[in-house]
Amino acid sequence: MQRCCSGAVWGAMAIFLAFPGSHHLLGQGLSLASKAASKAAATPSWIPPRTAGGQPDLEGVWSNPTLTPLERPAEFAGKPVLTEQEAGAYVQRHLQEVNTDRRDGGAQVDVGRSYNEFWRDRGNDLVADRRTSLIVDPPDGRIPPLTPAARKRVEESQQWMQAHATDGPEGRSLGERCITWPTSGPPMLPGPYNSDMRIVQAPGYVVILIEMIHDVRVIPLDGRPHLSPQVREWMGDSRGHWEGNTLVVDTTNFTPEYSFHGSDANLHLTERFTRVSPDAIQYEFTVDDSTAFTKPWTARIPLNKAAGTVFEFACHEGNYALTDILAGARAAEKRAAK
């Protein structure tokens, strides 16, 4: 739906340049959707429709951009919800701070901002209930501390990445390598763009097509056991079931190289999808990984019905940046050796 891509993958942009109107459409979709979401909150008796196959209907294209951060910023410590006035002031200030179309700051800063607002779809408001974090548990809105072992692992990994940043592909992030994105999930988080997904439902399955970076989650509902522990996947192995009108998805078997904010191969993710109005799904996920986090944590994110469709994001195919980063580093070394 949106047009773009990672800082690393300019090549993929060409495809999306042909859609000057899509941003506009998306904006409209979102503002309508947030109105609908607040309305739905006031009418909890709303009963979601069923698909032709009889499942509660989650089908359609959904989008999750929001300015509400995953974790509560220090300035809002002890303040889980903002007043309307505070929210307005925060949104205005925040949008000004992150605005890449600004021209103050000099030439070097300008270059850094060349990946400008045209490409972005970060939303233009907080979630409808004006929370200061997407995390709802623990109550401080912050990811619980890592276990000592996990902290050591994360720090060592960060140090290694810094020391080998341009030595080879492994020094770059998984996103820059087009392997997986920190927001593409599971769990799905708002990203800088392409925060769109299409849900389809067939007998025995819910399937989620995630635009970032063309990932598909096929979720069986037939109660089959998880894959054997030897089979590991970047997106994990998902199993779903219905609790009333809520789709509950359990995901395990993550590959050890996948780390969601510090998680490890023992990550057990539980996601809950509840259609709360014609135009909104309440999406909630709980991260449970006792070897990585000192306690489980939960975040809640509205998914808003979006206009348009999910387009192809050919990330790897357009990834000229990874080649250029490494070639540039080799050229710099050669020059330094002279």
């Binding site: 495809i15 999306f16 042909a18 859609f19 698909t51 032709a52 196959g53 009889g54 089908e59 341009t166 030595d167 080879g168 592909p169 492994e170 390598r177 087009c178 392997i179 997986t180 299409r198 389809v200 439902q201 067939a202 007998p203 399955y205 399937v207 097509l209 063309h214 990932d215 598909v216 096929v218 069986p220 089959r224 894959l227 089979v231 996947e233 970047w234 997106m235 469709t309 999910v310 387009f311 192809e312 050919a314 790897h316 195919e317 990874l322 080649t323 490494l326 070639a327 580093a329 080799r330 070394e333």
Partner: protein
């Protein structure tokens, strides 16, 4: 006389092709597929071909691996061919290019770099794919590279832009799902033998249930820049009936990093 001969030959060709397809057609007429909740033939399931079309659409002998250390594990299995009439009708210049592609296939085949496979190649790669059918859209999710297509059943209009997997518009003709695919870029190949196309490619696919666990798949391929006439491939798609069948991940980007970026690695200081 020349034309008459040509006509006879093409009629004979058509008869031969019809004979080849006869068992499938006969089944089509008698078999009535189970229905979805909205009354359409139910194509939901995990499907896969059982042929060597991804190595070469045309008939071919087995041959040695291009990568010597792989020995027999990298060798190419033989195949009967899936092209109706046997030959792909290349224009002369395109036939030359196909030969060049074949000679350099280890370097040029987009599959080697884990690029999205395009259509119809995604169908007959040696990986399963899952059809997820609803009234408005049919999602086809392929195990290879997490490739995916959305088939729009409500006339989505012309392709807004070219892409690797194209723009798919579907409709039903009796029990057959017909998918019209346009908006394909010129970066994909049809197989590992260098068979190729331009961005003028137009593919019409037909998925017809012929028995409980078999779909008949046909694709008509048209590209006036590369072929002298439209041509057709056909093959059965078999359903995975294992109770625990599921698509697994084949995120191959990771597997081609050494190939694509290895030469750009920092060399150890001497």
């Amino acid at each position: 006389m020349y034309w008459r001969n040509q006509l006879q030959i093409s009629v004979l060709g058509a008869v031969a092709a019809a004979a080849l397809l006869a068992p499938a057609n006969a089944q089509t007429q008698t078999y009535k597929a189970p229905r979805t909740a909205d009354g359409k033939p139910n194509l939901n399931g995990i499907w896969q071909t059982m042929n060597t079309a991804n190595w070469d659409l045309q008939g071919h002998s087995a041959q040695a691996s291009l990568v010597v250390p792989m020995g027999a594990t990298g060798a190419e299995p033989a195949g009967l061919g899936v092209v109706e009439g046997g030959e792909i009708p290349y224009l002369p210049a395109a036939a030359e290019k196909k030969k060049e592609n074949y000679a350099s296939r280890l370097k040029l085949d987009p599959e080697v770099k884990c690029y999205l496979p395009g259509v119809p190649r995604a169908t007959y790669m040696p990986y399963p794919f899952q059809i997820v059918q609803t009234a408005k859209v049919i999602l086809i999710s392929y195990e290879y590279d997490g490739a995916v297509r959305t088939v729009y059943m409500d006339n989505p209009g012309p392709a807004p832009v070219d892409s690797w997997m194209g723009w798919s518009a579907g409709h039903w003709e009796g029990d057959t799902l017909v998918v019209d695919v346009t908006g394909l870029n010129d970066q994909t190949w049809f197989d590992r033998a260098g068979d190729f196309h331009s961005d003028m490619l137009h593919v019409v696919e037909r998925y017809t249930p012929v028995s409980a666990n078999v779909l008949n798949y046909e694709a008509t391929i048209e590209d006036p820049q590369v072929f002298s006439r439209p041509w057709k491939i056909g093959m059965p798609l078999y359903k995975h009936v294992e109770k625990n069948a599921q698509l697994l991940e084949f995120k191959c980007v990771e597997f081609v990093e050494e190939l694509m970026y290895g030469p750009l690695r920092k060399q150890p200081t001497k």
